[in-house]
Amino acid sequence: MQKIGVFVCWCGSNIAATVDVSKVAGAVKEEPDVIFASDYSYMCSEAGQLMIQNAIKEKGLTGIVVCSCSPRMHEATFRKAAQAAGLNPYMVEIANIREQCSWIHKDKEEGTKKAILLAKAAIAKVRFNEPLTAGETPVTKRALVIGGGIAGIQTALDIADAGFEVDIVEKSPTIGGKMAQLDKTFPTLDCAACILTPKMVDAAAHEKIRLFTYSEVEKVKGFVGNFTVDIRKKARSIQEEKCTGCGACMEKCPSRKTGNEFNERLDNRTAIYIPFAQAIPNIPSIDREACIHFKTGKCGICQKTCGVGAIDFDQQDERITRKYGAIVAATGFQPISLERFDEFQYSKSPDVITSLELERLMNAAGPTKGELVKPSSRKHPSDMVFVQCVGSRGESCREKSYCSKICCMYTAKHAMMIRDKYPDINVHVFYIDVRTPGKNFDEFYRRAVEDYGVDYRKGMVGKVMEQKDGRLLVQASDLLTGEQLLLHTDMVVLATAIEPDKSARALATMLTASMDTNDFFTEAHPKLRPVESPTAGIFLSGTCQGPKDIPETVAQAGAAAAKVIGLLSREKLLNNPQVAKAEERLCSGCSGCSKVCPYGAIDYEVREIWDHGVRKTRRIAVVNEAVCQGCGACTVTCPSGAMDLKGFTAKQIMAEVDAICR
């Protein structure tokens, strides 16, 4: 017989306002095996934990039920407290009477009734709990960072500086990401390349960092501390070890009609190309879709030109398998497609551009060498209109529901820089709200208005029309004056919403990391564990978790690195002992469970067993406890009921259901 103690938490007024906690404590005293029940204002506090520990010692409790918040919040807290008092931590059950009861109900009587039922279910379960002991597994002391933008680079550098090996996998031919495309960075206006490229060089030169550029993660197996990852290194058609990066091949390449992705397709690049001068590695790749040799079998000029014979048209994709202890997602963002925003004429007029395109137009290394011109005529503009919140903060199918966060600041930056360099250009900004929280951010925006004379108008642009004279007519509202404005302008710049990179969804599936409805990675706790995924061993860095600017990205990248370092510096990790176990007398060796196991944790062995007094030889499932994650897929698959999850046995679950239905 068990001796069970029940502890009901008020959680201040969080629970006590909707649930009569003393009534719950009173009601469960009659339950079988319960010898003690009490309530307290904050069970998780030191005094609350002490109360539990004292009861365990004084009453000799063999199992406890804490009626409180979600087990995701404090199960670990109470297990630790119980363990300190000499009770096996797996003899603790949580009845979630906050998230699943008090927070979602208004009626106190109903809430109390439900809380009592939840408590009774937990008591019924804990009666069948058995003490469990966690095993240990070693930690592979190497981290994988997926994405080579500023987030990935910073995370990798921080981990490597702590002495651990790091691999960066970047899908494009160079690291650097979106930040490499930017001109200046707010609010200090230092040049993006000047602060990013040294970091890129550091990452490439670091003895602990290995770069896999033009590569993608294909398969992830394993669990925290012991991931096995397949990386596909796409064929560059260049032998990397031979190439000197001289660039002669690019000069001679006759295929020059492919949109240059790095310049947001404002100019063209060759089929064999290095994305930009400071790219790392400084090795070209051949775009096989554009290459004349791959299309017709002819040409081959680059091969003839190359002095070191590095061009290899027959190169194949390479598959590399590596082991890691931790994985960091740093997959970044992309601007949304503006296909559905017909009213701005983005697809029709070359003079309607996105803010990222403007970055390239103003960059000294961009297609115009930094001279701001109308893309259509290459002439100097006299009027420019900026439109904020394009695709952000909306509810229709073409918009994102969130604020993209960075647009207010970069629009102020663009407007200020244009007015500074070309005081003759009139700059109008249409805004809904100007949101500039951050150190020196609002001051920056005010400077654009007060010192640089940028014309900010509260209102939205309704539509943009192309005029016969090659200019654009912008129809907009000014809500403060109550006017509808018609502005003749030369260029329109759209502050386009950002969304997670399209590769993130497939990656999340491989990592079994959860995402929100917008495909941003979900953090383990929005306030207390912001850089960890709920999936153990997976960490989040940069805009893959939510919109953020460069300072925030770098801060989060460092935080993610700190968490990874904390994990990798441990010699061994405690396993979750709540894993599957096959009952040998029931198992028929059908292999059903091993087929559904996502972790490959189930093997079979032929064993001699006693079955009703008869010695038999049978093929039986055996669970590798270090690999099993306790998902339970096998238990529901097993046709003979031989598979059970320790801590969640069929008997325990049925007891819970019975307690509620009784």
């Binding site: 509810e395 939205m460 129809q475 509202s477």
Partner: protein, 123 residues
């Protein structure tokens, strides 16, 4: 009056984020005293009498561009239409009753006309 307009239109003006896209897009702006975004704001603030008395409501061409482009799905045109209906009902009274319809049925009368008559002449 506010509740009546919200009921007729099915619009929730609290969804408005006051961006002014509706008014920026409105082709009838010049003719209007009160503009689409003001209909939303004034209905929300229960400041409806001026809207009923103004001619602005009749200049709406029901082109639905405000509804099409509103990022929050507010549908200002539906509010303008509701103001029109409210005005009409006040002047014409509640004179079409369901039980009268059977006697007036005419096979050549389109169903839509009946629906429209109900919307205009009954509460």
């Amino acid at each position: 009056m506010r509740e009546e307009i919200l009921r007729i239109s099915g619009v929730n003006p609290l969804k408005c984020m006051k961006c002014g896209k509706c008014t920026a897009s409105c082709p009838a702006f010049e003719k209007m005293e009160y503009h689409p975004h003001q209909f939303v704001e004034m209905v929300q603030n229960n400041h409806i009498t001026p809207l009923l008395e103004s001619e602005s409501q009749y200049y709406c061409m029901s082109c639905l561009v405000c509804e099409e482009r509103c990022p929050r799905g507010v549908k200002p045109q539906k509010l303008i239409e509701a103001v029109q209906v409210l005005k009409l009902r006040a002047s014409e009274g509640n004179r079409l009753k369901p039980q009268d319809v059977a006697n007036r049925l005419d096979p050549s009368l389109p169903q839509q006309a009946l629906m429209a008559a109900f919307r205009k002449y009954s509460r």
